[in-house]
């Protein structure tokens, strides 16, 4: 059931908000011991919120757009009075005294918080394996990762533990897990959605976005969370269009660019390639023109990313020193020891690795060769996109070079893990909106996702193309059996 269908059922009195919430809480109780999508389930609050919606309906009040919609929230989005851990020992006991803008907007729109979802520690990872509280599992195959870093949110939506969810995407952390879990994941234009209350990883790349079981639902969530916020200086003031209405615009005549470098990328699974090319054919059948385009710097994104993101992270995570909040090492003999031991014990290996990389890249003598050079390449990547959008309306690539991998497959090799983000990173580098939509399954029965990318603030077109593809392809109608997928 999608959000629009639910709204009808709620309004007609067929199902109450409390029933829908209870259904999801029961589902969490049944499957989450296996999936471990949630770090904390806020059952009491969810029921109380749902009851309030039902009372409002009973009183004849007009209901807000997401009334009673049960939602899962990635645990790097601050929720007032509810622990927000970033899946890190460092913040295991951190309870924010403020609400993130995106969640505040969801609650004002009637959304119901089911709980906080697992992620790679501080959103650094592609599998949830770096979570200090254990990984989440892929509902399609519990031996496989759900992707990351927003793997808890993608797994929750795929397993029916929530109608929709929020994640954050710095280099693919929404789109890659969406692809791995067979759900829709949208990363909006940088600045389309406020970052206030999103615990920063790499501030110039981080962006909050929705997971949903359909493009239409992703549009419904974006509608609520998008828009200017005086608390975030990087949040754009552009008006928010009607994303849901935009879905109905016809796609015939739109030019879809197939990024050559993506399809030629080393390590691209042939099954993934074939599935995405079939999707391209589907778009052609819908009247789109397929265009072969080249973005020569596309595959440089990953090297650029692994300089810029750790550089920003090294500063963003400096505040965790055991002085003010969060983890503090016991028994330190002095200030320096307290700081270094709190950080050594509070952060996991991957976080420490990235802090070290970033510190190095910004150090005197290296900053020109690394950080500044990376910024220059970032400009080139942006130019590549600009040039491509002179001839096409939307770009098409696979979301991830592979389908979900098994636990431990890349644990000894951080570089192999980093390649999981090869195709998603460039959109972050250029601040462009991008979406992952399920486009098929591989021979192991694991979902495959395609990625669509448009120009800045062209979410309407992005959602429109994704929606038409989704409707025409009806991928989920012929999905393989999976015990944990409803």
């Amino acid at each position: 059931m999608g959000i629009a269908a639910w709204r009808e059922q709620l309004n007609s009195g067929e199902v109450s908000a409390r029933e829908l919430t209870d259904h999801h809480l029961a589902r969490i109780e049944a499957v989450d011991p296996t999936i471990h999508a949630f770090l904390e389930v806020t059952a009491d609050r969810a029921r109380a919120d749902a009851d309030r919606i039902d009372a409002a309906r009973a009183a004849g009040e007009e209901l807000p757009p997401l009334a009673g919609v049960p939602l899962a929230i990635k645990d790097n989005l601050c929720t007032k009075g509810i622990r927000t851990t970033c899946s890190s020992r460092m913040l295991e006991s951190f309870v924010p005294p403020y609400e993130s803008t995106v969640t505040e907007r969801l609650w004002n729109a009637g959304g119901v918080l089911l709980g906080k979802t697992n992620l790679d520690e501080f959103a650094m990872g592609s599998s949830t394996e770096t979570s200090a509280f254990g990984p989440s599992r892929n509902p399609w195959d519990p031996d496989c990762v759900p992707g990351g870093s927003s793997g808890g949110s993608s797994a929750a939506v795929a397993a029916g533990e929530g109608l929709a969810a929020l994640g954050s995407d710095t280099g693919g952390s929404i789109r890659q897990p969406a692809s791995f879990c067979g759900v829709v994941g949208l990363k909006p234009t940088y600045g389309r959605v406020s970052r206030w209350g999103l615990v920063a990883f790499a501030s110039s790349l981080d962006q909050v976005g929705p997971f949903a079981t359909s493009v239409a639902d992703a549009a419904e969530i974006l509608q609520v969370i998008a828009g200017a916020d005086p608390r975030d200086a990087t949040c754009l003031k552009a008006p928010v269009p009607d994303y849901v209405a935009a879905l109905r615009q016809p796609v015939a005549g739109l030019r879809v660019g197939l990024v050559r470098e993506c399809f030629e990328a080393e390590g691209l699974d042939p099954e993934v390639k074939a599935s995405v090319l079939a999707a391209a054919a589907q778009l052609e059948a819908l009247g789109c023109d397929l265009v072969d385009v080249s973005c020569p710097r596309f595959n440089d994104g990953i090297a650029t990313y692994y300089v810029i993101a750790p550089s920003e992270a090294s500063a963003n995570l400096a505040r965790y020193d055991g002085v003010k909040y969060g983890y503090r090492a016991e028994g330190a003999g002095g200030l320096a020891e307290m700081t270094s031991r709190s950080r050594a014990e509070g952060f996991g290996d991957e976080v420490q690795r990235r802090i070290l990389i970033g510190t190095y890249a910004l150090s005197a003598g290296y900053v020109d060769a690394f950080y500044k050079k990376a910024q220059q390449v970032r400009t080139l990547i942006r130019r590549d996109f600009n040039r491509a959008f002179e001839t096409v309306d939307v770009l098409l690539t696979p979301t991830s070079p592979t389908t979900a991998f098994r636990f431990g497959a890349h644990s000894d090799d951080p570089l192999a893990m980093y390649l999981a983000d090869l195709l998603t990173i460039p959109a972050n580098m250029a601040g462009l909106p991008a979406i992952s939509v399920p486009c098929g399954f591989d021979s192991k029965g694991l979902p495959i996702g395609l990625q669509l990318i448009t120009g800045v603030l062209e979410e309407e077109r992005l959602l429109q193309v994704a929606h038409h593809y989704e409707q025409a392809a009806a991928v989920m109608a012929s999905r393989p059996e999976a015990a944990l997928v409803p």
Partner: protein, 497 residues
């Protein structure tokens, strides 16, 4: 200068090169990146919020009033305002810095390349003007304060407490060029910066509360053509005289070290006010790497020409311009011009009195004399004085036109200062108007001479001093109201016979 060259050779050969870094707290009600209050002196950690404390997920947003104050300050220092500038993160770990980085401006400050004119006045030396170059002005956030238990510093303390009330207060850092040469010049420069900031109303410049803090960089070399010596930084001076003394001490310390063949090491030294000397705080040999990079949370800072010019139009006349105008157009002495312009409010009071018709010199004497003394003694601001500038002008005019004497004016002034009111009304009410009728005065004088024949005889015999006696008697007889000029004239006439 010629005299100095002839002086002892060793000392004349040395020249000090001094530059100042001045941190000015911009007096906005709220902090630079959040709406927490900037109030000083309250209980620890009462003016904090999630942004101040650097809690996860919080973001800075630039207080537009801070930008306005910084740009106005920069324009008053004749700096070039950048159309585009940015904020950077300056990274170092210290518990008074909540995020462990300070949001500052590194390579694209809001303003560069300016100057101010400083009047250097020192007892026993001729006052001179000097133009001091200013390298840049940039905006940044202040840090909090640590309170160490069991020691006055981190080392040796059992534990330390942190107060973030000051964290995030907006600072303008003003960096001078190394154009200063003496302690007095350094003190005058700092004092002029403070005066300008107070004129603009962008800072109270209170050094005791830390609203204005100066770090001095200083080196010595053998004459103006020699290469620069090793630079030493001095901190912890909380008055202008401390700046002067610290610089003078440090110049001598460095010269002595070089002359004794000892090296001057690059370091930070603290001025010890009690002992009147500088002492080493930390060596700067292993220069810190602050790993600056542009703050991605804050967009570029754009100041449009329109915005800039509208702020420029709001600038008041600055102290240097006033000093020149008072001296050149109003004919005041350099000293008077300097005293009058020290505080904007006093200068404005003076100007209002002159505009209302008061003679500039006479107004100056009253303002810098009795009025300043009264205001200081009662800890008042001149703007709080019930006695208005126009009323002062009225009083000055009454003296000038001979309606009252200066003596009478001094008598009625305390009441005017306390309660205000029209001097004319008081004089009329109490019949204090001056006796300036020559016939009446002549009559009194004749009466006097008749009553003191011996003294008249003595005067005519050459005891000129006796004129004072007669003046005293005359004033006594007239209750001090006789026009002194006229009275003296008539008296002398009659005495000489």
């Amino acid at each position: 200068m010629a005299g100095a060259a002839a002086k002892a050779t060793a000392e004349a050969a040395w020249e000090a090169v001094i530059g100042l870094e001045t941190h000015v707290q911009l007096g906005t009600d709220s902090k630079i990146f959040t709406c927490a209050s900037t109030a000083f002196g309250d209980d620890p950690n009462t003016h904090i919020d999630p942004v101040v404390c650097g809690l996860p997920g919080t973001l800075p947003v630039l207080n537009q009033r801070v930008l306005e104050y910084a740009v106005k300050a920069a324009m008053a220092l004749n700096l070039r305002i950048a159309e585009h500038s940015k904020f950077d993160r300056k990274q170092y770990f210290y518990p008074d810095l909540p995020k462990n980085y300070q949001i500052s401006q590194y390579d694209e400050p809001i303003a560069e390349e300016g100057w101010i004119e400083v009047e250097v006045a020192e007892k026993g030396k001729e006052t001179y003007l000097k133009t001091i170059g200013i390298e840049r002005l940039h905006m940044e956030e202040d840090a909090g304060k640590l309170v160490h238990a069991g020691s006055d510093r981190l080392a040796g303390s059992t534990h330390s407490l942190v107060d973030y009330n000051r964290a995030g207060v907006a600072l303008a850092e003003i960096v001078s060029k190394p154009d200063l040469r003496t302690g007095r010049e350094a003190a005058e420069y700092a004092s002029e910066i403070r005066r300008i900031m107070r004129y603009l109303g962008v800072s109270d410049g209170n050094m005791q509360e830390g609203s204005l803090r100066c770090d001095v960089n200083i080196s010595v070399r053998r004459g103006p053509d020699a290469p620069f010596g090793t630079k030493v930084e001095i901190k912890n001076m909380n008055s202008f005289s401390a700046i002067q003394k610290a610089v003078e001490y440090e110049i001598q310390r460095q010269i002595k070290a070089y002359e004794a063949g000892e090296p001057v090491v690059q370091e930070t030294r603290l001025w010890d006010e009690a002992k009147q000397l500088t002492k080493s705080m930390r060596s700067k040999e292993g220069a810190s790497d602050y790993r600056y990079f542009p703050d991605p949370d804050l967009g570029p800072i754009e100041v449009s020409t329109e915005q800039r010019e509208s702020w420029r139009a709001e600038l008041p006349e600055l102290p240097a311009a006033k000093r020149h105008r008072y001296a050149d157009q109003l004919g005041l002495s350099i000293y008077d011009a300097r005293v009058l312009t020290d505080e904007r409010a006093m200068a404005e009071y003076f100007e209002a009195a002159v505009a209302a018709g008061g003679d500039p010199k006479a107004v100056t004497n009253w303002v810098t004399g009795d009025i300043a003394a009264y205001v200081n003694a009662n800890r008042l601001l001149i703007t709080e004085l019930p006695f208005q500038a126009v009323q002062l002008a009225e009083m000055v005019q009454m003296i000038e036109s001979g309606v009252i004497s200066g003596k009478i004016a001094k008598e009625i002034l305390p009441e005017l200062l306390e309660k205000g009111g029209s001097p004319k009304a008081i004089v009329a009410e109490r019949g204090l108007g001056m006796l300036s009728d020559p016939v009446a005065i002549t009559a009194i004088v004749e009466e006097l001479l008749a009553a003191h024949p011996d003294e008249v005889e003595a005067f005519r015999g050459g005891k000129n001093k006796l004129q004072g006696f007669f003046v005293g008697q005359l004033m006594k007889k007239t209750g001090g109201k006789a026009d002194p000029k006229l009275a003296n004239q008539i008296l002398l006439e009659k005495l000489k016979g």
